[in-house]
Amino acid sequence: MVNKNLRPPTLNVTPEEYKKMTAQISPRPTLIKNVVLAFLIGGLICSIGQIFINFYIIYGGLPKLAASTAGTATLIVIGATLTGIGIYDDIVKVGGAGAIIPVTGFANSMVSPALEYKKEGYVFGIGAKLFSIAGPVLVYGISSSIFVGLIYYLLDLLR
């Protein structure tokens, strides 16, 4: 809430004018650069995932679905490891959403609180805070998948 009734002298600028000044001066995100880098890094991560999936199909003899699960698991291990050795946050700094959206980003959001809050103990540190970033993703991800599934089910009944 903005101040009222200050003793003069006060600034002769209204909060509305100040909002405009702030918007003018605050540098904007480098949008095009961010989008291009997100595309490249995100694409790179997904390509690596595809390489693993193909590898598991060709050399592991796995069926397609199992190979895709194994490929995802491999990416999670890589994302978690890169977080543990302190590299993943640097990748996100460059790649932005391209590195946050893939499953490696999800691994990062699980491992980083685990690392961070270990000092506050296993119960109220790691236990309580492990899902501090991933929690919202799970809550709304699972909720919306149930919702979409329900619509799909109802539409299917009508057919």
Binding site: L6, P9, T10, L11, S26, N108, S112, I133
Partner: protein
């Protein structure tokens, strides 16, 4: 009752302004690679400095800054009357824990990133009021402890806004004394809490600039001074965005802004260090004030300096609840 030392709205003119007899700074590794590296007494090699947690490191830095500033002045710790200190962590634990190790009467202060200026203002009042003769004024912050309290786990990947600032790792102390030679704290202007409705916690420079402008305008008005009275008018941690906004606000209010304005947050890092809008945190102004600026004053480069600490008075809870960010600026003038 008339207050003989108070002038105008909110300024105090000290009768016997205390001498700043020494200053000591301990900087983090990243600050040690910045342009002011040569002015720091100690530069840590890593962010832990051998401790088990970053909170412990911050407290140790602050404790060392308090001990060393007394040693430098060549007096005994027993002759210090008070420690005044503040930091950013919940319940100001860095200051509390540092003062626990030292055992001198302690007043914990919270002015967010304005804590260094606040401690110097209150310390000067204690000495000028005759309540003590030696006061340690300190403040600290640590990038990692601030990140994990205010933002995200330190290894969590994210892209920071271009106007975001980087919390400084560092602790600084000055020792105020009723006797000595050299620079003195001559006036103090205690700020009022100003809120212009900024809600973006990443844009703290924008949240704080009106509070600083308000303090500067009142300081100049109370003392009937112009900005060119000072060789340097330096703000705590407005960063590049906040400093530009401050200048705009002052110009709009007919304050004659010359090139004697600067900001500790702008001074402490190189642009290559990619901190975006510069440094922030209690440690930012503590390092630059007790290090670089104090050294320049001792060397005679500056004779009259106005130092305005800037504090953003929100909490993670208040921001999540959608509250706007109140801010404050405390000013002290240092003159030789």
């Amino acid at each position: 009752m008339v207050s003989p030392k108070k002038v105008g709205n909110q300024t105090i003119v000290f009768e016997n302004g205390p001498f700043i007899i020494s200053g000591h700074t301990i900087a983090g590794p990243m600050e040690g690679q910045g342009p002011l590296a040569a002015s720091f007494d100690t530069i840590l090699k890593d962010t832990y400095d051998g401790e088990m947690s970053w909170e412990k490191t911050e407290s140790k830095m602050l404790e060392n800054a308090m001990r060393e500033v007394v040693k430098k002045a060549d007096i005994l710790l027993d002759s210090v009357d008070y420690i005044l200190a503040g930091d950013l962590l919940n319940q100001i634990i860095s200051s509390n824990f540092a003062a626990r190790q030292i055992g001198v009467p302690f007043i914990g202060l919270y002015g967010a990133c304005s804590s260094m200026a606040l401690s110097m203002a209150v310390g000067s009042m204690l000495i000028d009021g005759g309540f003590g003769s030696k006061v340690i004024c300190s403040a600290s912050s640590h990038h990692e402890t601030a990140e994990r309290q205010y933002r995200l786990p330190t290894e969590q990947g994210n892209q920071r806004a271009m106007y975001a600032q980087w919390t400084v790792t560092g602790a600084g102390s000055v020792l105020l004394s009723d006797s000595g030679t050299g620079p003195r704290v001559t006036t103090a202007t205690i700020g009022r809490v100003i809120d212009y409705g900024e809600t973006d916690v990443n844009n703290m420079g924008a949240a704080m600039a009106p509070a600083i402008a308000d303090t500067i305008i009142n300081h100049l008005n109370d003392l009937k001074r112009q900005p060119d009275y000072y060789d340097l008018i330096v703000t705590g941690d407005l960063g590049s965005v906040g400093l530009q906004l401050l200048v705009k606000l002052l110009v709009k209010n007919n304050v004659k802004v010359a090139d004697n304005f600067n900001d500790c947050g702008v001074m402490i890092y190189n642009t290559e260090q990619d901190t975006h809008a510069g440094g922030s945190g209690c440690g930012c102004s503590a390092l630059v004030m007790a290090g670089h600026i104090l050294k320049e004053i001792y060397q005679g480069k500056f004779k009259k300096v106005l130092f305005i600490g800037s504090g953003s008075l929100h909490s993670p809870t208040s921001s999540l609840q959608g509250e706007t960010i109140p801010a404050i600026g405390h000013a002290v003038s240092i003159e030789v």
